[in-house]
Amino acid sequence: MGATGIGAAIPRKEDHRFITGKGRYVDDINRPGQAYAYFLRSPHAHAKINRIDTSAAQNAPGVVEVYTGDDIAADKVGGLICGWLIHSKDGSPMNAGPHPALAQGKVRYVGDHVAVVIADTLAQARDAAEKIEVDYEVLPAVIDLANAQSGAQIHDVAPNNVVYDWHLGDKAATDKAFASAKHVTKLQLVNNRLVPNPMEPRAAVGEYEEGTDSLVLYTTSQNPHVARLVLSAFIGLAPEHKFRVIAPDVGGGFGSKIFIYAEETICVWAARKIRRPVKWNCDRTEAFLCDAHGRDHVTHAELATDAEGKITGLRVSTKANLGAYLSTFASSVPTYLYVPLLSGQYNIPAIYGEVMALYTNTAPVDAYRGAGRPEATFVIERIVEMAARELNMDPAEFRRKNFVTQFPHQTPVIMCYDTGDYDASLKKAQEIHDIAGFASRKAKSESQGKLRGLGYSAYIEACGIAPSAAVGSLGAGVGLWESAEVRVNPIGTVEILTGSHSHGQGHETTFAQLVSDRLGIPIDNVSIVHGDTDKVQMGMGTYGSRSGAVGMSAIFKALDKIEVKAKKVAAHVLEASEGDIEFKDGKFAVKGTDKNADWGTIALQAYIAHKFNGQELEPGLKESAFWDPTNFTFPAGVHICELEVDPATGSTTIEKWTAVDDFGNLINPMIVEGQVHGGIAQGVGQALLEGAIYNEDGQLITASFMDYCMPRAHDVPSYQVGMTTTPCPSNPLGIKGCGEAGAIASPPAVINALTNALGHENLQMPATPERVWKAAQGARLRMAAE
C-alpha cells in the first residue's frame, strides 16, 4: 500500500466535488419552508439603548417575527460564554462581562446585535430592519489600547476595562539576569489586528423538528460538537440528545469558526419559536464587523545577553485587546498560548511575561491562525535578530549559539520540548536559500537603486493542544482529547468517524491514507465521516494543528483494537491459536504455515459469526477510542525571507522565500506543503498588507475587501519548502502538526528582512508602502550620497 499509504503525496479524494461545483456548504443548504434572518446591528461603538420600537418592522411585508434582547431574556436564553478561566496576578478570576446574543440595554461595538428580523425572503427581512427605530444614547468609545484603562467603563464587572492582569515566569530570577547582563536589547512592537476572512462567510440554518421536539443546526463550524455542548449546556437551547449540529463542507476557518456566535444561537432558537427553519448568511462586511478578529497586542520586550552572546533572560510586557466581549477562547490566547512560547528555539534560563488584557469597543478578539504563538514568535524572533545586530553577530550564528540542543528541554515557562534539531533546519534552509549568494544579489539590487534585505525566523510552536488534565489545571473548561470510531463493514470497506473537522485540511484523504496503510485496503474503500453530531458521538474539532497529532492518534488507537479483534476472528477462521496469527499487508496468516485469509474474508466472518461462539466472542467489527495527548507537540523550523524595496515608492517585493520545517512524520507531503504555503501568505499579509483599523468613534474603516488589503497572487512569491524530521515521541504516528507554522514563522522573517534592507529597526506591521517609504528615506539619502 506504499502508493497510497503514509508518506504518499497523492491527490485528494475530496477534490472532485469541489472542482465540479458539488461541494455542500451551509449556504447551499435550503430547508422546506425556511425563513431568512437579518440582523440589525449597532451603528455605534458604545451606547445605551433607551428604547427599541419594532412595530413598523413587524407589520412590513413578509415579516414573520422581530426579536430583541427582551425576547431572549424572557426565554432565559443563556449568554455566550468564554471557556477558559484566567486568574489575575492577585488570584482574582477574570472579569467576564455578560455577552447576550441580542443586546440588552447597551451596545458595545459597531456591529453588535440589536435585533433580528425574520421574514419570508432575505430582501423582505433587510427592508423591514430599516423600519426598526432604536433610541441610542451614545457613550464615549474606547478604541485604543493605550487609553483603554482610563476610558469609559464598558462592562460593570470590569473596572478600568481590565479583563485580567496576568503573569507567568519567575520575575525575581529574570530581574537578576537583567541586573548582571552585559547587554540589553529593547523592543517596542505592535502586533496588528487582523480579520481572519475565510473565503466562505459564516452561515447557519436552524430547524425545529416538532414531532421529536428536537433542534438541528447547520453551521460553518470547525468543531460542531463543541458548538452543541455550548448551545446546549450553557446557552440552554435544548439538551444534547435533542440537538443535532451539522458542519458540512466548510470553506476555511483559521480559528474564526471555532467560536459560538450570536447568529447561529438566534437562528436555532428562533426556528423553534416560529416553527420554521431559519437561515442566515453573513455578508462580507458583517464578517469584518463581527467575526472574531486576531492578534492586537502592544508589547515591550527586553532581552539580556552575556559577554559571550548567550541569552540570559527575557522580559515581556504586553497589553492585549480582547474587544467588547470575551469570545469563546479569547482569554487563553494572550496567556497560555502566548507566554509559554516566548522561549522560542532558545535556551533562556529566565523568562517573565505579564499580560494586561483589556476590553475596548471593538469586535471580540480570539484565536486566529496560530493564536498567541505568532505573537510570541514575533516578539522573540524580532528581538533576537535585533540583539544579533546590536552585538555585531551574524543573526544565524547568534541563533545557533543559543539554540536548545538537548532534549527533553524544560523551559522556564511551562513547556517541555520533547525533540527537535533546530540546527539541522537552519543549515538546510541556508543551503536551499543560497545564503552565500546574498551579497552579490544585494549588490545587484543596489546597482539598480533598490534595497535588498534578508531576514530569518526560527520559530517553534506548540500544537495538538493538549493533555486534558494539563489544560484543565491552566483554566480550560474542556478536555482536549479526540475521539474516533472505526466501523468495518461486512465486505471489508471501512468508515472512520472522527471528531476532527476538515475545512480545507484534506482529512478525507490523509485519514484514509492511514487506514489504507494499516489495513492494506485501497483508500477508495475508506470513507471519513465528520461534522455531524448524530453520526460522530463526540469530538473536540480542528484547530491548533491537532487533527493529525491528536485526531489521527485516536484513529490509530481504534485501529489497534480492530486488529486485536480481527485476529481473534481470524484465529477461529484459520483454526489456529490467536497468538499465531500475523496481520500484514491486508492478510491474516498463521505463523509458519501457508494458511491465510484476506481482510474482506475476516470482516465478513466477523459479521456472519458462523465460525466462532457468539457468547465467547462478540460478533461484528467496530471499535472506538479516545486519545488524550501526553504532551503538546513542538513543530519548529526556519524561514528565510529575501526582499527588495524600492526606496522611491516604498513598494516591497518578496524575491525569495525558503521554509524548512520539522513537522515530524508526514502523512501526505503534498498537503503538508500546501498548509505551509497558505500559512506563509497569511503571515506575509500580516507583515505587509493587512490591518483592521477603527477610527476614534469606533467605526471599522476597513470593512470590505476594497479597504482591507488581503494578499493576492501577485503579492506573494513561489515558496521553496524543505523538511527535516525528528519524529514526535508523544503520539504513535510521530506527527507534530503543520497548520499554523507558516503564519507563525513568516511575519518576523518579513520584518527582519525589511529592517535589514532599510538599516534601522523602526518599522511596524503592516509595513505598507507608505510606512516603508518613510522608513526608507534615510537609506535613500545614504545611497544618493555614496
Partner: protein, 164 residues
Amino acid sequence: MPTVTMNVNGRQRSADIDPRTLLVQFLRENLRLTGTHVGCDTSQCGACVVHIDGEAVKACTTLALSCEGSNVLTIEGLANGNELHPMQEAFREHHGLQCGFCTPGMIMTAVDLVRRKGNNLDEKTIREELEGNLCRCTGYHNIVKAIAAGARNMSSMPQSKAAE
C-alpha cells in the same frame, strides 16, 4: 415580476424574478446551481465568476435580467460529462485547492485567461491576471502551478470546447 430567460450550461432556463435579483442569486436560488459562490458582495474575491457568452464575469454584481438571451456557463457545466475539463484536472493534480470555496471562480477565471492569453502562461502573467480572485488557503503557489499546467493541457482540446 419580469421573466428572464437564458441558456445555462446548455439548457434553456426561465423564471419570474424580482428585478433586483443578481445573476448569482438566480443561479444559486432559482436553478440550485450552488457551485457558484458568494464571498464578498463587492466584486473583489471572484468566488462567483461564471462565463457569459464566453467571457468571465462576476455574477455577484450582474443583474440576472441583464443576461436575457445570454449563454451562461458555470462550474457545473465545465466538465464534458464525466470527463473533467483539463483545468479542473490540473487543480486536482497540483493541489490547487484546500477548502474549495474559491475554486469554482478560480477555475472559471483560469479558463478565460487561457482564452485571452493562450496556452503558455508564465508565472508573472498568471499572478497578475488573478488580481480579481482571492484565496485564503493555498497561498496561491499551487493555484499558479495548476493554471500553468491546465493551460498547457488545454492546447490539446478541440477548439470549440476550449473556447468555452
